[in-house]
Subunit: 139 residues, 2 copies
Amino acid sequence: MTIDELLKQHNLRLTKPRQQVFDVLRQSAVPLTISDIAKKCKNVDRASVYRTLVTFDQLHIVSAVAIGWKSYYELAEPFIPHHHHLYCIHCQNAEPIQTPELEQLVGYLSRKHQFAVVKHHFELEGICKNCQQTKQYKK
Amino acid sequence: MTIDELLKQHNLRLTKPRQQVFDVLRQSAVPLTISDIAKKCKNVDRASVYRTLVTFDQLHIVSAVAIGWKSYYELAEPFIPHHHHLYCIHCQNAEPIQTPELEQLVGYLSRKHQFAVVKHHFELEGICKNCQQTKQYKK
DNA sequence: GTACGTGCAAAGATTTTGCATCGAT
DNA sequence: ATCGATGCAAAATCTTTGCACGTAC
């Protein structure tokens, strides 16, 4: 399923701003804030970035990731593999990880509470392996 | 450990605004937005609410919960038991749940990735048991 | 008395909205 | 030609900051 097809299924058009937001997200190794996205989308009005993200969220093209008190955005399945993050509060890096055990747990909790899960959020914040070894952090 | 003691340990004072924000959070069954909190804290300036939440976050008196694209706040341990939420996208209710299996998983992932976890976020969004049975939702 | 905190007000940033125009089909 | 989408500008919100005054200790 391409983004073009997905949009057309909903009578929406693949316009230049939408293409640019999508490309910016695809090329980023880490989740981005709205400001990050707006800055990287030259010649695209900020309002269009907002409107595009709402549209993309509704079509599940993007997903929101909360880290600390801020929201970040990244492509969702099937555009990138499902994953979660190890966010280092020292170096700020967000390392993606696969967590099949978590996906199982979500299924279990869904059955246990008779709750129809639409999506789940899971993020870890802490100190990454590298930063644990830096002088700066040991002080 | 009372909030008063916790503040004093850091040379901070238990003032009226701080007491009010704490009480509002304690009395709420669900996580609140900053606006919710500000509205419920009569006679407290909005700026003080912001400053109080920053302070409370640093002392781990509150924790932030991301639901959808918004941030909510609630008391953290040890002021209320550690828990996560089932957030119903239909009726908007956030039901707290205990998830010992998740806590174990966090420990496992921490060891596996040699990542020193400081905090973890986990939320489920979907349709609650009640709403699955309403006519409105079945349409 | 001495900081720390507050309220107030202003500034700064973010997000939403209306509308005329543009562009994809 | 039609209808959705955009850019622009204005409005509405949200968040931060400086400073004089209050108040907890």
